[in-house]
Symmetry: C2
Amino acid sequence: MPKIVDKEKMREGILEAFLNTLLKYGFHNSSMTKIAQEAGIAKGTLYLYFDSKESLISTMTKQHFSKVKERLVATKYFDSLDELLNHIENSLLISKEDTEFIPIFFEAFGASFSSPKFIDKYRDFFNEIGEFYAKNLQLLMDSGSIEKSINPVALGRVLVSMLDGIVLHKGFFSMEKDAYEEMVKESVGLFRRGLIL
Amino acid sequence: MPKIVDKEKMREGILEAFLNTLLKYGFHNSSMTKIAQEAGIAKGTLYLYFDSKESLISTMTKQHFSKVKERLVATKYFDSLDELLNHIENSLLISKEDTEFIPIFFEAFGASFSSPKFIDKYRDFFNEIGEFYAKNLQLLMDSGSIEKSINPVALGRVLVSMLDGIVLHKGFFSMEKDAYEEMVKESVGLFRRGLIL
DNA sequence: TATTATAGTGACCACTTGGTCATAAAAAGG
DNA sequence: CCTTTTTATGACCAAGTGGTCACTATAATA
């Protein structure tokens, strides 16, 4: 007898509306009322599907970072420098959606940057990627494919910082496609010459 | 007949108290009342010296970035790769104060990240530093000190992104001194091998 | 010490916005 | 078509906080 709705579909629809609102107004100017309007529902209904605004943004962020990590950490290690560089290049050529999410993320969580728990989460995130690179660099060193004088752990971690820096600047300063691709090309070239035996 | 105070000293004292408050509570939890208390004055007095909270943070940010730029853009170009690398290394070894300011900056201005005017300002800032590097790379190419196949403009700009990435990660994730110095060493080594002829 | 221009104070206001809840609407089934 | 369970609604509330202003205090001068 009861009215039935597909809750999962509703949540997805709301998240989509949320993203649209974020892109239009930013996080702090996306009031729950606006988000509800964009989703074509009332504010109260919004709260039937998400506990809070925090829940909305954290759900979206979780999804985002899970996608990002999938792209940044390969399932296997690369056997040659070229493959690793190719992977790095792909990591740098991020999608429009991922780019757009960057300023949103900083706006939404700016206030959390003083929270150790929050910082820990992202430290772990980047450390894990750094360890992936570290291990891969070690393997390439062992197989004699790259420079032997490096410290793979430190270099792996700093590589991640560099890549993040490039991506962040892309996200913040919305560079032109051609200019950015040229930058990516130069980075990869620099890395190649800097790593090759 | 009137009561006289040193307004400049007052402003400096307030800015100092403001920074202390920021370090303790972050930006959004530093209410004007708290800031005034830390400065040992009443809230109303605060408004005699600064028009708004925005004015406080923007004054502090201006001072900060002006110092940073001074450090990142040398007054002259470097004649050798070693000098340039040395400059890069110094740029990466930022002070504790500068490190601490990073999360504060992102917290305070998170909400401004959707404002084109705000973004433009920082795009200009980084572009200028990028151009400094571009020009210096060009000079070193001309003098035959470094790799000739590079695109100095693109590489200059991407170098800035990389350096910023490293510094940001230091600021966000407060790395241990030794580990960070090792990372800096690896970066400089990578740059050297990647640039040298 | 009285005068007066400057500086200091903190209770109060205005406004925004996340979140609630009493009430209404919808739809599935008997 | 009536009942019942689920779903939807939006006026309203609570809380935080930047900023104001009428009033008080201070100190330099005459």
